[in-house]
């Protein structure tokens, strides 16, 4: 356990070393928030609520969604792809570490990093510049738990695609497709409430909504009963465990085919 904590710490430090890059991320975020603000403002021009959401709720959903997007995107598949291709994956394989846990630790390091540098500023922006109003409710308390589980789900999806690299050595297309699907079907871009009901019903059974929609619902509609939230967290947990097992099984197969290039 300690070894992985050291890796979390190391990744956090790398982030700090490249803190300048985050200025751009924050700047990009501000622009995105501005665009989203006017877009949704015009959509809500003639009505108080749409699909059961007020403008404030929708904007909070979308704005916070972008902050969480930066948190939960681990890029593990992209890292693994390049490291498998140029052979530097050997660097991990010769150390007494489990590859999956190693990447989980680096992703967690970036998560902490992003919370300090990107998410907190975004929340401050939402509160004080865009002046969105939070509704107070039990959901707010459960939000951090839900976010953490969402992180695991997002990581396992990325890691799963990363493991495909052991076979195809180039998963550019697959990664991109996955990113688009996750962003769209998880509510990362548009609140799921705005999707057709039939599609919503299908999405309900897929792991994607557990990544963005679930934690975002806890923030935007926190005044629901505890049971509703606990059920949501339960579904998240089920997905996390299922995906964890899937990656484990896949890893056992994939590692047998590893070809380390170079040397």
């Amino acid at each position: 356990m300690r070894k992985y904590l050291a890796i979390v710490r190391g990744t956090y430090m790398i982030g700090m070393i490249y803190r300048l890059g985050f200025l751009f991320t924050i700047a990009g975020n501000v622009i995105y928030l501005g665009v989203a603000y006017y877009l949704w403002k015009s959509i809500f021009k003639n009505s108080e609520t749409l699909r059961g959401l007020t403008f404030d709720q929708t904007f909070l959903y979308v704005g916070l969604g972008s902050a969480i997007f930066i948190l939960l995107k681990t890029y593990t598949d992209w890292f693994m792809n390049s490291e498998i291709r140029d052979g530097s994956i050997a660097m991990y394989l010769v150390k007494p570490v489990d590859i999956g846990t190693y990447f989980l630790a680096t992703s967690f390091g970036s998560l902490l990093m992003n919370i300090t540098i990107v998410s907190i500023p975004t929340i401050l922006l939402l509160l004080f510049v865009f002046k969105v109003k939070f509704i107070i409710g039990i959901g707010l308390l459960l939000f951090p738990i839900s976010l953490l589980i969402a992180f695991f789900i997002s990581f396992f999806l990325d890691y799963f695609v990363g493991l495909v690299c052991f076979y195809s050595e180039s998963v550019w297309g697959l990664s991109t497709t996955k990113d688009i699907i996750v962003t769209l079907l998880s509510g990362g871009l548009i609140p799921l409430q705005f999707f057709p009901t039939a599609l919503q019903n299908i999405l309900h059974w897929l792991p994607f909504q557990a990544i963005y929609h679930t934690p975002l619902t806890m923030i935007t509609q926190p005044d629901q009963s505890v049971d509703v939230f606990l059920q949501m967290i339960f579904i998240q947990l089920v997905w996390a465990v299922l995906l964890f097992m899937a990656t484990r099984l896949f890893y056992i197969q994939a590692i047998k085919t590893v070809r380390v290039a170079g040397g």
Binding site: K3, R9, V260
Partner: protein
């Protein structure tokens, strides 16, 4: 002696043999038997059209990177594992370190099968791949070491001692705060070597650790490796294209080519092989088509028909004179050439890896 006795002694003999066999297996740290690694690779066609057709191609070819090698390495040995480019050295090392699964044969390091127990294997070994670093590219050197300390569960005291030792040996401290990616090649290599010994491993694999280093750093590197081997009895497998490294460090070498072992034994024997031959490169004034013949005749006249000198024109204006010193001393030949011909430039070239391998191929060690 009755029948019983004979049978008895037979059993004794048998069990003694077994005992030796098992002792041999137990005592050797690395045991490799008939190991092979075959890669099947797609024959890629040229051009864009070719790339497109490759999508549907099943045209695979097998590369036998390692093809049935066997050897045993004892604890505390430094073994030079050498051979020309593409011989299969790195592939063997990747199997010994547990990052590649062999296609066939057995491999055991300290009694365990590396690829099946990758994490356990990793704990008892250190590795340096010369072309890449095992440190964290973006972190300062000392932070990389701190992470390694945790990964290998090295206690603070051992860590301090180790870093102290390397400080004394190679003056590492001044690099501590520098990002790994900003280190020069030699500095990075020293850090990598330090890292590979950090957890006091039983065996260290060094795959071209002196690649691209200048002479003084190389010398430093050699003495560090030697020192650690002596002080800690660390087993070292060294791959290199610099025969100087091998001469300075190894008592035993294993030469492989095309995935098979060509020679496994004492370096002295090979040493005599490349020690006995020296090649003189000459630039002779007034060089023309008959120069080679003139030289040949002059040598025969001077040193007799058994002179052991081979002459060849390799590049323009240069004549290679390869001398078997066992028959004719280099100094005599040089002396004779200088007094008989007008020579504008002379070089003495070290024998190359390729030449050694070629000679071994030709049966020079049999």
């Amino acid at each position: 002696m009755d029948l019983d006795d004979i049978e008895h002694s037979f059993y004794n003999r048998q069990s003694l043999l077994f005992l030796f066999y098992f002792l041999g297996k137990i005592m050797s740290l690395i045991h490799i038997e008939n190991l092979s690694k075959h890669f099947s690779i797609l024959n890629r066609r040229e051009g864009l059209g070719g790339a497109f057709r490759d999508l549907f191609s099943g045209d695979y070819r097998t590369v036998k990177a390692v093809d049935g090698i066997s050897f045993d390495i004892d604890a505390g040995e430094i073994v030079g594992y050498i051979g020309p480019n593409g011989a299969g050295k790195s592939t063997t090392i990747k199997m010994m370190t547990g990052i590649l699964k062999p296609s066939g044969g057995t491999i055991e390091v300290n009694g365990i099968t590396p690829y099946a127990n990758r994490i356990r294997q990793a704990q008892i070994m250190g590795v340096v791949f010369g072309q890449r670093t095992q440190l964290w590219w973006d972190l300062p050197v000392i932070e990389s070491f701190k992470i390694l300390k945790e990964i290998y569960k090295v206690d603070q005291k051992t860590f301090d001692e180790h870093m102290g030792l390397f400080n004394d040996l190679v003056d590492l401290k001044k690099l501590y705060t520098q990002q790994v990616r900003t280190l020069s090649l030699g500095q990075r290599m020293l850090c990598d070597i330090t890292a590979s010994f950090l957890h006091n491993p039983q065996v260290v694999f060094l795959d071209e650790p002196t690649i691209g280093l200048d002479i003084s750093v190389k010398a430093k590197m050699r003495s560090v490796i030697k020192e650690l081997n002596q002080v800690r009895n660390t087993t070292i497998i060294l791959t290199t294209h610099d025969l100087g490294d091998v001469e300075a460090l190894c008592q035993r070498i294993i030469i492989i080519d095309k995935g098979s072992v060509l020679y496994d034994g004492d370096i002295k024997k090979v040493n005599s092989l490349f020690g006995a031959y020296r090649t003189l490169k000459l630039q002779i004034d007034g060089y023309n088509d008959s120069t080679l013949q003139t030289l040949q005749d002059a040598f025969t006249q001077k040193f007799g028909p058994e002179h052991g000198i081979a002459i060849a024109a390799t590049e323009e204006f240069w004549t290679d004179v390869t001398i078997d010193q066992a028959r004719t001393p280099l100094a005599d030949v040089l002396n004779f050439i200088m007094t008989t011909f007008t020579v504008s430039d002379v070089r003495i070239v070290e024998i190359s890896m390729e030449n050694v391998v070629r000679k071994v191929y030709d049966g020079a060690l049999k």
